[in-house]
Point group: C2
Chain length 442, copies 2
């Protein structure tokens, strides 16, 4: 036991950081709840067979598995050729597999359209690297049982509102539909079997640009005529006007004759989201709702948005913010998956915000509401006097920490300030409520 | 995959129950923070060697262990005679072992007296039974680095205040000291080696009474003269006046000549706790603090309180509440343990409240503060109109859920009410802000 570090790739949270995380979580919870989502919780472990049913994608390989209890030597020996027989449970690697299991278990007690919040840690045995941990918090909202564009709009609106409430105004959502990608690739002439590989390449558009994409596709040996058609489309003489968002802009960003049904779904999301965010209020406008214009909603149609996970079946989105060049979350529609453990199809769409990234962006702030006082006391103050002073301040609504005076008072106060304390007072024998001087911690 | 239940002995939390748990947690967090405790978080898993270092007591045997990643057939075969070699990590079975590891890792960044809050799940592979689960939340506060009676007093005061804030007024704390038990058993004449067994018997006093205790000790073959002395003490002609709490009462409840140091520590806890809870306030009393009497603090000295865990070295306590006949929590001083991974002694004392029991006692309550409205809409209301109405209500501060009208409107509204919704309105095509009628959900 030479090292006393937390397990590899995992973190301790000290008071200041933990307080910050809880503050961010409280805002997220409150905002999502306001938008009609209800928080649920599932156990941290799920049965091995469910975690390895194929819906977890590549993450299944990264699962931490739990050793069966009470294995004897024979059972261990027999497991040499079948390591899976050593385990019956695993730590969840995402919140979607548990949600599918939860829905199958409890659907009789849930509303017909169920809007869930899950905020919880997940575990992946990945190679640790800067900013990537083996235990991290995911923060998902999902709408199960609604196949309409309203569901996507509710997710987008609730997420942007939450980002605003965290002080991260100016977020926007890039949006696309897997069926758009499928149809486009079919139109260009890519065969069904080569499309997954083509999508992996297209996913790099932000990094390697149109020329890079075309070069990589040729290198890959994709159908030459299809690559030519794709290249011609990418080079067509127009600026892609991704924004403002509306039917005209969506059609303009696509090859001719995009399927009406898919375009209508994309348009419907924008219209509903814009209506939800329109500035008219019930209280201020006694007549009918007068909405501000649809381009008010920060939705950006991006026909080349791909997203990695294989399980998406329709809409996909990604959350962007001007302060960073990486995504702050994303999600999409995955109609096939939630019903998997039920043996029936259930429409579902989800949005996962990147909690670990967001918590780093949220500005430091102390709880201005509650004063927090450090009582710095001499060694010989009686226990009863000290606790009487503390008790009185607590009853007044303060947060109070006792600290015995040390030689380096400055260091002591600096640490208290970094833990969110805002004031201090010194206590000597004989200090009473009347003589206690509470001073601000600068 | 025939069953879709959560893993054996573990629970899903549906929206109403999850909301209740989060509400209780928020109160606990806020109160403990006010009393100067700071929340920390450690990873859910710890290294196997640390979880099995002997400080977890019987719980070590109940640990869920995590299978090493990338084991090959040879490694598995070799593990037949050494099953521990299959695992490198385990799920924590308590919050004390992780706290000891956390303190060793981070002590340089912590105040010299560190008051921690930990609220987190633990796992034990116990036989599931009514009210006992394999994953449950523990809720611990600990003070590390203070050996004085003030530390115990701070724990007691913070815990009782938290119970009050949860609406569970009238709680009380039974208190004893392991050194009192040791000294008493020595006084009666029990040998050092037989004392652990004797304590196990004494721990049953509530259940089997003094006669039962004496009979069991004789049956066990405990030193006969010691059992006689113990019996005489139990039968002495006095009513045990455990309360009010003070030196006279403590001495009266013990054999003659109890050690001054231990009695003084017990008396000091009561005096400091009483001072903290005294009704004098800084704001209301400009002169010196005038304290109400010490018997105001609901401390009960119980010389036969034992508590199971072997690691306690001094004070032990147990939290009682008039509404239930089981304990709502407990704790004690364990000076030897926190420094274990550091190789040095560090005084420490902790109090763990039984979150799972407390959450069942806390009265149902809706968030009266925020109105919560269900919008029951016809199928053909446009997505944009519906989200505009929802958006306006959310901006006004309501929580809003959309529900499509079903034949059984009553059932729909009852479910919404059980999820904490307080009002509803019906939305037909053409319903506007002006015509929306929000009615209370009775």
């Amino acid at each position: 036991m030479a090292s006393v570090n937390p397990p590899r790739g995992m973190r301790d949270f000290l008071p200041a950081e933990k307080a910050r995380r809880e503050r961010v979580l409280a805002v997220i919870r409150e905002r999502y709840r306001a938008h009609g989502f209800d928080e649920i919780e599932t156990p941290v472990v799920e049965e091995y067979s469910r975690l390895h049913a194929g819906i977890g994608g590549d993450n299944e390989k990264l699962a931490y598995n739990v050793l069966k209890r009470g294995l004897d030597a024979d059972a261990v020996r027999a497991a040499a050729d079948d390591p899976a027989s050593l385990t019956d449970l695993g730590l969840r690697y995402d919140l979607t597999v548990p949600l599918a299991r939860f829905y199958a278990t409890n659907r009789g007690q849930l509303p017909s359209v169920f809007r869930s919040i899950q905020i919880a840690p997940v575990w992946r045995a990945e190679r640790p690297q800067k900013g990537r941990y083996r235990q991290f918090v995911q923060c998902d909202i999902d709408i199960i049982g609604d196949g309409s564009a309203r569901a996507e709009a509710e997710l987008v609106v609730a997420t942007l509102d939450t980002l605003d409430a965290l002080g991260l105004e100016g977020g926007s959502v890039r949006i696309n539909d897997r069926r758009v990608l499928d149809w486009m690739l079919d139109t260009f002439g890519f065969g069904a079997e080569e499309r997954p590989g083509v999508l992996i390449t297209i996913d790099k558009l932000d990094k390697i640009g149109p020329e890079g994409i075309v070069a990589e596709l040729r290198e890959r040996g994709a159908t030459a005529s299809a690559v030519d058609a794709f290249e011609a489309f990418l080079r067509r003489p127009m600026t892609l006007e991704y924004h403002p968002y509306g039917e005209r802009q969506i059609r303009k960003a696509l090859p001719a004759d995009a399927p009406d049904e898919i375009v209508a779904h994309l348009v419907g999301i924008g219209a509903a989201a814009a209506a939800a965010r329109a500035s008219a209020g019930l209280a201020t406008d006694a007549g009918s709702l007068s909405l501000s214009k649809g381009d008010d909603v920060p939705l950006v149609f991006d026909p080349f948005l791909v997203r990695g996970m294989g399980y998406y079946t329709g809409t996909i989105f990604e959350l962007a913010h001007p302060s960073v060049d990486y995504s702050l979350g994303g999600g999409g529609r995955y109609d096939g998956m939630i019903g998997r453990f039920l043996g029936q199809d259930v429409p579902a769409v989800g949005f996962s915000i990147g909690f670990e990234r967001i918590v780093d962006l949220v500005a430091e702030q102390t709880d201005a509401a509650a004063p927090a006082v450090v009582l710095v006391h001499d060694r010989d103050v009686s226990e009863a006097d000290l606790l009487a002073l503390k008790g009185a301040l607590v009853r007044q609504g303060s947060r109070v920490r006792l600290e015995q005076r040390t030689k380096n008072l400055k260091a002591l106060l600096e640490r208290a300030a970094s833990d969110g304390y805002t004031a201090f007072a010194t206590v000597a024998p004989g200090t009473t409520a009347a003589t206690l001087e509470v001073k601000p911690l600068s």
